[in-house]
Symmetry: none
Subunit: 197 residues, 4 copies
Amino acid sequence: MKITDKKQEKKNQIIQSSLELFSKKGFYNTTIPDIAKELSMSVGNMYNYFKSKDILAKEIISFISIYLGNKLKAINELDISTEEKTRKIIEIYFKTAKLRPEIIDYFLRIFLSNREVFKDGCEGMICVNEFVTEIMIYFEEGVKAGDLRDQDFFSAFGLFMGYLGGMVFLKGEKVLPNDLDNYIDDVSYNIYKALSV
Amino acid sequence: MKITDKKQEKKNQIIQSSLELFSKKGFYNTTIPDIAKELSMSVGNMYNYFKSKDILAKEIISFISIYLGNKLKAINELDISTEEKTRKIIEIYFKTAKLRPEIIDYFLRIFLSNREVFKDGCEGMICVNEFVTEIMIYFEEGVKAGDLRDQDFFSAFGLFMGYLGGMVFLKGEKVLPNDLDNYIDDVSYNIYKALSV
Amino acid sequence: MKITDKKQEKKNQIIQSSLELFSKKGFYNTTIPDIAKELSMSVGNMYNYFKSKDILAKEIISFISIYLGNKLKAINELDISTEEKTRKIIEIYFKTAKLRPEIIDYFLRIFLSNREVFKDGCEGMICVNEFVTEIMIYFEEGVKAGDLRDQDFFSAFGLFMGYLGGMVFLKGEKVLPNDLDNYIDDVSYNIYKALSV
Amino acid sequence: MKITDKKQEKKNQIIQSSLELFSKKGFYNTTIPDIAKELSMSVGNMYNYFKSKDILAKEIISFISIYLGNKLKAINELDISTEEKTRKIIEIYFKTAKLRPEIIDYFLRIFLSNREVFKDGCEGMICVNEFVTEIMIYFEEGVKAGDLRDQDFFSAFGLFMGYLGGMVFLKGEKVLPNDLDNYIDDVSYNIYKALSV
DNA sequence: GATGAATGAGCTTTCATTCAT
DNA sequence: AATGAATGAAAGCTCATTCAT
């Protein structure tokens, strides 16, 4: 339907703009008027697309989960070794952090930290399901292929995601002396060394 | 001085209470009246001890940095192998997450995520200097002893801290099927495997 | 005209639905979108039938006045004693309160209480003219017949209508232990006793 | 305590002013800023005295109930005939409607009509308990004295209060040709005639 | 006639901070 | 040092009404 498409497109615009603003200024320091102004639309009209600020925040994280999930899915479907997959995941994560920093920032600083906002509807990993699923697939296939040690998934997941998140945090804090790209070798080596058999 | 001591003691009380409240409810959902009520003191009097909410938040993170830094320092001063030190650091981190969850939560969810609050005065790692320093000492001594690979410090730091933070996050999300204690073996193994020569 | 008939029919539908909603939720808690949704029509189209929410409210009270006025007219035209008419009026009022509570509720809680809404166009009793007129006829004929005392009309009117409204209020508050029907005897007796010569 | 007295006095001022404004303009057309301005105080400070607009509304009706209850109590305690008491109650009601019209208006137009506001905490007659109790006492003593017929209390209550409310409504609508005082004789006569044995 | 996106003023409520006492 | 009333800016959200299609 034409109409639905148009409405969905506008929703996407709102998601993009508010994703950027939330990431840059934080959830509580970004107001609905801020977002509306960014989009040159009225405050009231915002509410025709998202019934509340919280719901908007939840739709953003879903968008991100799907976005990153798709990237990972593409990697998972490649016919390459687990070691190469590992590196590619790190590359795409760091690349996203560089080219669309708001996405990783939102994940780390908005979603993970403001749990009260996501309490209803995003319990556990529900709203990042697509993303987590792909990591799970990567891990299980690696184990099946005999490349990765068969350990508790969460232990591996925590290592992988915690590490990557940690590096992006350090970059964000301007504490890293070099660009994230320069850490791809180290990080890949460390992670694969830790996880491999 | 007696007077100064008394004042410092009260400041410490405020730090403890607000640390708990910030961790539990988040920075923006904890009000100064909330904290004052918790301590049975008046709102106005709070400001005799901390000139602003932001300054209070910064003093809390300094307190935490010193608290954790001291724990790590004690480990660094032990005459044990790097591998044993690695494990002990993880143990103390998980133990703190269990016994005083507000401390790790504050670090992860308040300090790391609300950068706007800490922007002035806590740039980079300034306010967690004591803590980071001990990790640095751990790492450098491990390298000097020939146990750890001589890689970029931040790459190692990101792995260590990101991983531990990630595990606590997962625990907080009730996503981990077991207690954190049960992951000490895995995590120790993974980290040491990744960092060792 | 066909067209006009159709339009009038739709207006009637709107009046019915909004009458119910206003009565149930109050004037200010019922929105135009609420009414539109109830009728499965668009908000904008509502305004093709009623130029404003206030005007809609006024048309509703006119509808009610005519509705009740007709009921009373039928009673007035009966060839029965004043005492019997008195009872029949009470019966019809209570019956309406039971079968179409929204009508009496609207009269008592929307019309009488939100005077600012009806200020322009419904001054005094203008918009309930049909209804009041029949009460007036009942009273004057009762006096002429020598059954009712010849007192100030408003004094009698206040007694009659205030009493009935009061009973419906009490019923609405769930304060009455019995159904309204059970009060018909008492109320009839009291009113006739008060008004008769 | 001095402090408590001062706070209570301010609460009373707020009650007085908002009582007037609510009565004059209606509950939904009177804003907190309106009330604050009337009292030359800040909006925020209003909330130091009443946690919400609804709670303010409820405290007002309690105030009114006590106010009117006390008036009735004084009458009930007089050593006069039931007929004289009846008249005195009507007198005080009409006098209040004349001298402090906001009180009766609030009762009729705010309390009775905006049930959603009073739903929680003022179910049934809870918040007008003092007032209703005195009417009950009047009635029961009248019955005991052999002056009033022993009928269902609510039937008598509806007559009494409905009638008085109705007359004040008519006066408010400028529909009464004369002052309320001029109706005291008629109303007293009608009510006593209806209720007496 | 019908649609529903768009407007924007306005509402209730919150809260860091100040200041008279 | 201690109190808590007072401030006032700003937030999230609502809704009658309009208007392009």
